[in-house]
């Protein structure tokens, strides 16, 4: 009883704080200084049409590197935690009914399309909404579909780990090259900015997007894989 009353009281206080915030909220009519800088300098400094990607990969590229590192740590910890209850080879997934004609055939048909969409979203991150993280998540959804269609299937650990470490190394390497040949770590002007709005433009943003996408896709796939390889799955 006391517990429920306390929970209710806490939620009430929090809710009234939220309500006050909402009532007092006035949408800004002008961009603040940071946002205005990003908006006016996106074309000549970065050359990317999508301002969000320009901020994410160029102006705050170091934070994105940190974020990818956090994801890598997550994947590593998940596989460490779950490795103690790993199923013996060939044992997991055998206790389930087959996934059915519809899902297996649908997977075969959809997988190439999902991979294509993922590659498109990754490569066009500087032009349209999208980029490495979204494209990587789409690729990982393809991996999830494969696991659902055939639960006893095993991905190649080696391939996933190689893709992951190669793209991570290339990301850091590009950043270091920027220190040597351009303005600083992960500087965008390592490659020419090119024509504004073209696919091959905006310096190293498309390359970094693809690298992030591969890394994120591989990390999500390895998380899914370690969740799937447990004794009860």
């Amino acid at each position: 009883m006391i517990r429920n009353a306390l929970i209710g009281l806490m939620l009430f206080i929090l809710g009234s704080a939220f309500l006050t915030l909402t009532m007092g909220f006035e949408p800004a009519t002008e961009l603040n200084r940071t946002a205005a800088y990003y908006a006016t300098h996106a074309q000549e400094e970065v050359g990317a049409q999508n301002v969000v990607t320009a901020v994410l990969i160029t102006w705050r590229g170091l934070d994105t590197l940190g974020e990818v590192t956090v994801l890598f740590l997550t994947a590593a910890i998940v596989s460490l935690v779950l490795s103690r209850s790993k199923a013996p080879k060939g044992a997991s997934g055998s206790g389930f009914l087959p996934s059915g004609e519809l899902l297996t055939t649908g997977t075969k048909m959809l997988l190439p399309l999902i991979a294509l969409l993922g590659a498109y979203v990754m490569a066009n991150g500087h032009l349209t909404p999208g980029g490495g993280f979204q494209g990587g998540a789409i690729l990982a959804s393809g991996a999830l579909l494969m696991l659902l269609a055939d639960p006893s299937r095993r991905f190649g650990h080696k391939i996933i780990h190689r893709v992951e470490s190669a793209s991570g190394l290339a990301f850091v390497g590009l950043g270091l090259l920027g220190m040597l040949f351009a303005g600083g770590f992960l500087d965008n002007k390592l490659l020419p900015l090119g024509q504004f709005g073209a696919l091959f433009s905006a310096g190293i943003i498309p390359i970094v997007s693809v690298l992030i996408g591969l890394k994120v896709g591989a990390e999500f796939a390895s998380i899914l894989e370690s969740l799937e390889e447990t004794e009860d799955a």
């Binding site: 949408p27 946002a35 301002v51 994410l56 935690v81 993280f133």
Partner: protein, 118 residues
């Protein structure tokens, strides 16, 4: 408009917190945290909303010269992009720990785990 999306976001946060505090099942608590996480993201995005403006993409609709007067704030969107990815990582971690707890005790009831309770 911005008020409506703010209210929806705050409601999601409250719903998530309520679920996490009242449920005993660890899986349900994880789902509640995910809902609260989505609420935080909705709030952040709607703070960046500005009336009569368009998405922060400088295509033919937004000449680069007038960009500062035509687009909404890109910074909250970048933050939310980051927050979504990190939220997914946190959820995966919670699920992995929940699975290990289930293997150890054979139960997902939070009241069975008293080791850290004083």
């Amino acid at each position: 408009m911005a008020q409506v999306s703010l209210l929806i976001g705050f409601t999601l946060i409250l719903l998530g917190l309520y679920g996490a505090l009242t449920n005993r099942d660890i899986l349900r608590m994880i789902v509640s945290f995910t809902i609260a996480d989505a609420g935080v993201n909705v709030v952040l995005v709607s703070v960046g909303y500005m009336a009569h403006r368009t998405a922060p993409i400088l295509d033919s609709a937004v000449p680069a010269g007038q960009a500062a007067a035509r687009i909404i704030d890109p910074v909250p969107q970048v933050l939310v992009l980051t927050a979504i990815v990190i939220g997914l990582g946190v959820t995966a971690l919670m699920l992995a720990y929940a699975y290990r707890l289930f293997r150890l005790r054979g139960s997902l009831d939070i009241s069975q785990f008293m080791d850290l309770k004083w």
